[in-house]
């Protein structure tokens, strides 16, 4: 079965420093991977996705993620953190299976709370 692990419940960084939010996955076959961000009392906002191709994926708000097949990881990164990046981040993997092969469900990790200190 597909699953995602986010090993850190919290990540704290100083503004201006680089940040990394970790994610590892377990899937059958090639994965579709996603990162979402959630602000308090809000829904999830899409940041970026990996489908195929270049292992370094660039997304919204200066975020990027590196797909590493050998380590089954998809870590989210940003070169210089902002206080406004403070939020809850979710990694997700998409299921390719089901009666409609492209109608996949998302499996989410537990989330990582990112706090950026001024």
């Amino acid at each position: 079965a597909q699953s995602v692990a986010q090993p850190e419940d919290q990540v704290n960084v100083a503004e201006g420093n680089p940040l990394t939010v970790k994610c590892t996955y377990s899937v059958s076959g090639n994965p579709y991977l996603f990162w979402y961000v959630q602000y308090p009392n809000r829904g999830l906002q899409f940041l970026l996705k990996y489908i195929t191709g270049d292992n370094l994926v660039k997304g919204s708000y200066g975020f990027e993620a590196e797909f590493n097949k050998s380590q089954t990881s998809f870590h989210l990164k940003k070169p210089s953190a902002l206080v406004s990046d403070s939020a809850l981040y979710f990694c997700a993997v998409r299921d390719r299976l089901g009666r409609g092969s492209t109608l996949g469900r998302l499996y989410f990790g537990r989330g990582t709370q990112l706090t950026v200190w001024p």
Binding site: Y32, F90, A92, G98, L103, F108, G109, R110, G111
Partner: protein, 113 residues
């Protein structure tokens, strides 16, 4: 271009009651998925609708049911509410037949007393 919309924003019910949550997908999207997000947890998949049929279902009891209408909007119904059903219910939409990302609505906060 309106994104995914959900109603109501908040809802308070008592145990044993029934509730209906509503979702309108983003323009151009035909597939709707529902997720339950308990406090401190990641979203858990409930079910997915495409072409007015339930296509996939997560590990949720039959008390959870849904419907998709010809205009692609969707409803989530929960019968015989339990305290443990208290959560944020998220609706997501995407265009079926592609690997596009799912767009999420703001959610409905359900509190069961």
């Amino acid at each position: 271009d309106a994104g995914v919309t959900q109603s109501p924003t908040h809802l308070i019910k008592t145990r044993g009651q029934q509730v209906t949550l509503r979702c309108s997908p983003k323009s151009g999207h035909d597939t709707v998925s529902w997720y339950q997000q308990a406090l401190g947890q990641g979203p858990q998949f409930i079910f997915q609708y495409y072409e007015e049929e339930e296509r996939q279902r997560g590990n949720f009891p039959d008390r959870f049911s849904g419907h998709q209408f010809p205009n692609y909007s969707s409803e989530l119904n929960v019968n015989a509410l339990l305290l443990g059903d208290s959560a944020l219910y998220l609706c997501a939409s995407n265009r079926g037949g592609s690997v596009n990302e799912q767009f999420f609505g703001p959610g409905t906060r359900l509190t069961v007393l």
